[in-house]
């Protein structure tokens, strides 16, 4: 029995990185569901698809590039350029379908140009696509310096239509769990990509080039054409990702998708595709992206961990997956070597396997060190967080404790008809002020001991809300971040309800991790609310 399992594993060794990712995803999700009740909601799972569709579309193109042994850094630039260019064209009154078509052609053209540099001028993929990223991102700012909102009907329809999931939603009341049209687009792209990669001549050529470009050329495969096509495909995918992203956030700006290429590359690596090319599965990329999204979701649900842990965890996971891959590669070459040696001379085997063992030890040791360091760092961070509450406050001001957010009170205010609940917490005197704004223009502030009121016109309230909405409050660009505020800093807990949507985002000032627009929202609100003397 054991032997059978062993044989099964060694026969399907190439599936190990893929199955590791899949297992990791489900285990991590299960652990999350055990700890956080909210994660048991199927909508949270569906939201992974809803929020990261553009990342997967772009990652699929990247998977093909990486299978040939190349890399495409230009994805983030192309995504940003697509959002700005399509927003600008829509503002000029173009037909939305024509805009999409033009964008796809533009993406393919950019990809083809970079492909030509790489294929025919023998430029390193890294350098050529880097130049492509810079040109694309720079062009955004020649089109517009500011964000452009998209008001097109078709775009709105595509972005806002909810596809209810049968069995999880009630079709009559139209309430329940849903996905968006963009998710369907993503799944179609995924299915087509899997077909292309594994069932067409083109796909097999891609794998052959990644395995060994020289031999692929000698076998008479169309290496140059395929490489050109691969970069064109990646440009197409990034342009499509840019379109779905602009539909998702309904605006375009040159600063969108900053550092996006790193997320995409990390997702593809976590999905089990080797960076040296020739091995990997498009299907794995799906789970690479899901793991990436899940990490962010878990950190949001945890609420205690700061947002930068996302980066660290993704870095560590990338390391682990690369370790697994190079171990497998090492074992494969050792097997080949030992088979060869067996037929020739037996005594050579021992010295050949010795460095391999050392390498395995080194990788394993490295992984353990990283994990131990991460655990220590988490503990350290928590201690510092605790320490900063007790220690720092004592010298700056006498016995001042950071108060917890009154989340329940905020929720009950919202239930009682408030359309905005705003709490600010901290500072050198550890104040804790909770404001609520009502549609009729009444604003009530409460600092725990006394209350103040202010009356503004309902139109002011309407303007405040639409301002907040315009700053992207309900998009993915506005996300929770948290760390313990410094002595002079404040924590904010802000719930906004607008046109049937409600969202809560919390953040801390003085930090660098919160979304940039958050501070504009907070300062807008601070200009309207009354202030305690």
């Amino acid at each position: 029995m054991l032997q059978k399992i062993g044989a099964l594993i060694s026969n399907n060794r190439r599936f190990i990185p893929l199955s590791a990712t899949v297992t990791l995803f489900f285990v991590a999700y299960a652990v999350g569901a055990v700890f956080y009740e909210g994660m048991r909601d199927p909508q949270v799972f569906l939201n992974l698809f809803r929020s990261y569709h553009y990342m997967l579309i772009s990652a699929i193109g990247m998977t093909f590039v990486m299978l040939t042994g190349g890399i495409d850094l230009s994805v983030s630039g192309v995504v940003a350029l697509t959002t700005v260019a399509s927003a600008a064209l829509l503002r000029e009154g173009w037909n939305p379908w024509a805009v999409m078509l033009v964008m796809l052609v533009m993406g393919m053209a950019l990809g083809a140009i970079m492909g030509a540099f790489i294929t025919y001028l023998k430029v390193q993929p890294f350098i050529a696509t880097l130049a492509g990223m810079w040109v694309a991102r720079g062009l955004c700012f020649f089109i517009s310096d500011d964000a452009i909102a998209i008001n097109d009907r078709v775009y709105r329809l595509l972005g806002m239509t909810k596809i209810l999931i049968p069995g999880l939603a009630d079709p009559i009341t139209k309430q329940g769990d849903y996905i968006s049209i963009l998710v369907v687009v993503m799944l179609v792209v995924l299915a087509v990509a899997i077909y292309i990669a594994h069932y067409t001549r083109f796909g097999r050529t891609v794998y052959a080039i990644g395995g060994n470009e020289q031999s692929a050329r000698l076998m008479g495969l169309p290496v140059n054409r395929t490489k050109m096509l691969v970069y064109t495909l990646s440009g197409f995918c990034s342009a499509l990702a840019g379109i779905t992203y602009s539909i998702y956030v309904l605006s375009g700006h040159g600063l969108y998708a900053g550092g996006f290429e790193l997320d995409v590359i990390a997702s593809v690596v976590m999905g089990g595709t080797m960076l040296s090319g020739g091995a990997g599965y498009v299907f794995g990329t799906l789970f690479g992206v899901l793991v990436n999204g899940l990490i962010q979701t878990l950190i949001q649900f945890n609420g205690q961990l700061s947002s930068w842990w996302t980066k660290i965890v993704i870095g560590v996971l990338t390391l682990v997956f690369i370790g697994v891959q190079s171990l497998l590669a090492a074992r494969k070459t050792r097997q080949l070597a030992s088979k060869k040696m067996m037929s020739q001379a037996k005594e050579v085997v021992a010295p050949a396997s010795k460095p391999r063992n050392r390498q395995i030890l080194l990788l394993g040791g490295g992984a353990i060190i990283v994990i131990v360091l991460a655990v220590l760092a988490i503990n350290g961070a928590q201690n510092v967080a605790r320490g900063s509450v007790t220690n720092i406050s004592t010298p700056t001001s006498a016995a001042c404790q950071l108060k917890p957010f009154r989340q329940d009170q905020a929720a009950s205010l919202m239930k009682a008809g408030a359309i905005l609940a705003y709490e600010r917490n901290g500072g050198s005197n550890c104040i804790d002020e909770l404001y609520s704004v009502y549609p009729d223009g009444r604003i009530v502030g409460d600092d725990g001991t006394k209350k103040i009121e202010k009356q503004v016109t309902p139109a002011d309230v309407g303007k405040l809300l639409s301002d907040i909405n315009d700053k992207g409050w309900f998009t993915d660009e506005m996300y929770d971040t948290w760390h313990t505020p410094c002595g002079q800093c404040y924590g904010y807990y802000l719930t906004v309800s607008y046109k049937g949507q409600a969202k809560t985002v919390k953040a801390v000032d003085g930090g660098t991790d919160a979304p940039a627009n958050y501070w504009q929202v907070v300062s807008t609100i601070n200009g309207v609310i009354p202030h305690f003397p």
């Binding site: 050529a128 720079g138 930068w308 320490g387 220690n391 010298p395 410094c486 991790d513």
Partner: protein
């Protein structure tokens, strides 16, 4: 006779590693000479030199520092993507050592009142600099371990620290952007001794690298590892150790650059210090003519390459291109340089000149 002699020297010049970087720099400065009046004006204020040329040198000092380290790494056939993140880590470490209060370390009350004083620092300056550089060198060693002993592709191995590094930098400062008040520290990036002080730092690091690579055998070893690490191994060179040294030195350079950058803006901004600098540094080396595949390298050419990048940026600002859009021009310069260096184009040019000769 005379013709053949002159063509020989011409050939010597064009085939020199320094020719193309200097040509590119010359073209950009020529552009400035024609289109930007007063670009070359130098003024002295209080015994210090000011002017666009000095600005190029001063603002380019971080890229030059990174370029020195990156040259050695690329010469071994690798690449280090993490230098930008290491800069952020270095800045965070330095800031936290000078002002630990902000993350909740309790100080005795007699020190607390000095915290915003420009003459106060929690740890002495030499300690700050030393610890920061040690941390940065450890980051470089980590990359070197993965690449040399873990046998992981350099681009992948350093990608890990590139992704995680900024997270680590934020972790160190607990996400706070720490202001640096200490005046002597600000001198590192902002001071002037006729010329900007950061230039002397660049010169010092360059001297270390030059002596290490040209007065000892290490330079030769690095080149031999870059050309063929296997045959270097068989000729008795410990190629792993050589790689480790190169990556560690690159981390050290990134640490120095992090000190300069953070003292320049007097803050530790983990999200923005050194953002995209790894790309600038690699580009500087590529413009300097060192092949990405490894092998022969020239430190001076990389410095000139860094100046080419900075001169482009400064000139674009001078003619009024918006700050965010400068990156597109930079991309076009890269394309131009790539074309200049590609074998196909060079072959084409050579064919044309050969036809003229006959």
């Amino acid at each position: 006779m005379t013709q053949s002699k002159s063509s020989l020297t011409w050939r010597k010049i064009t085939e020199s590693k320094l020719f193309f970087p200097f040509l590119a720099l010359g073209l950009i400065l020529l552009f400035d000479l024609i289109f930007v009046p007063g670009f070359f004006a130098l003024t002295t204020k209080g015994g210090h030199l000011y002017g666009n040329l000095i600005d190029i040198l001063r603002n380019g000092s971080c890229i030059m520092l990174l370029g020195i380290g990156m040259t050695l790494v690329i010469a071994t056939g690798g690449v280090d993507l993490s230098v930008g993140a290491v800069m952020a880590i270095a800045a965070s470490v330095a800031a936290i050592m000078m002002n630990p209060v902000i993350i909740g370390v309790k100080l005795p009350p007699n020190l607390m009142k000095f915290i915003n004083d420009p003459n106060f620092t929690y740890a002495p300056l030499w300690e700050v600099v030393l610890v920061t550089l040690i941390v940065a060198t450890i980051c470089g060693l980590w990359n070197g371990l993965l690449v040399a002993y873990g046998r992981i592709q350099a681009m992948v191995a350093t990608l890990i620290l590139m992704i995680a590094g900024r997270g680590i930098a934020q972790l160190i400062t607990n996400g706070v952007r720490i202001q640096i008040f200490y005046e002597p520290y600000a001198f590192i990036g902002n001071g002037w001794l006729i010329l900007p002080f950061s230039l002397y730092i660049v010169a010092f690091v360059f001297a270390i690298a030059w002596i290490l690579t040209r007065k000892t055998a290490i330079g030769m070893f690095i080149e031999s590892v870059g050309i063929n690490f296997r045959s270097s191994f068989f000729s008795g060179i410990d190629e792993k150790k050589i790689k480790l040294i190169a990556y560690a030195f690159c981390g050290f350079c990134a640490g120095v650059a992090g000190l300069v950058a953070s003292s320049n803006i007097k803050t530790s901004d983990s999200n923005n210090i050194g953002l995209y600098f790894e790309l600038d540094a690699i580009l500087a080396v590529v413009i300097g003519g060192t092949l990405m595949a490894g092998g022969r390298f020239s430190l001076l050419a990389s410095i000139v390459g860094a100046l080419v990048i900075q001169a482009t940026t400064t000139s674009m600002y001078a003619i009024g291109v918006p700050a965010n859009a400068v990156i597109a021009i930079k991309g076009l310069v890269v394309v131009f340089v790539i074309l200049l260096y590609s074998e196909q184009v060079r072959g084409f040019v050579r064919r044309i000149t050969a036809q003229k000769g006959t």
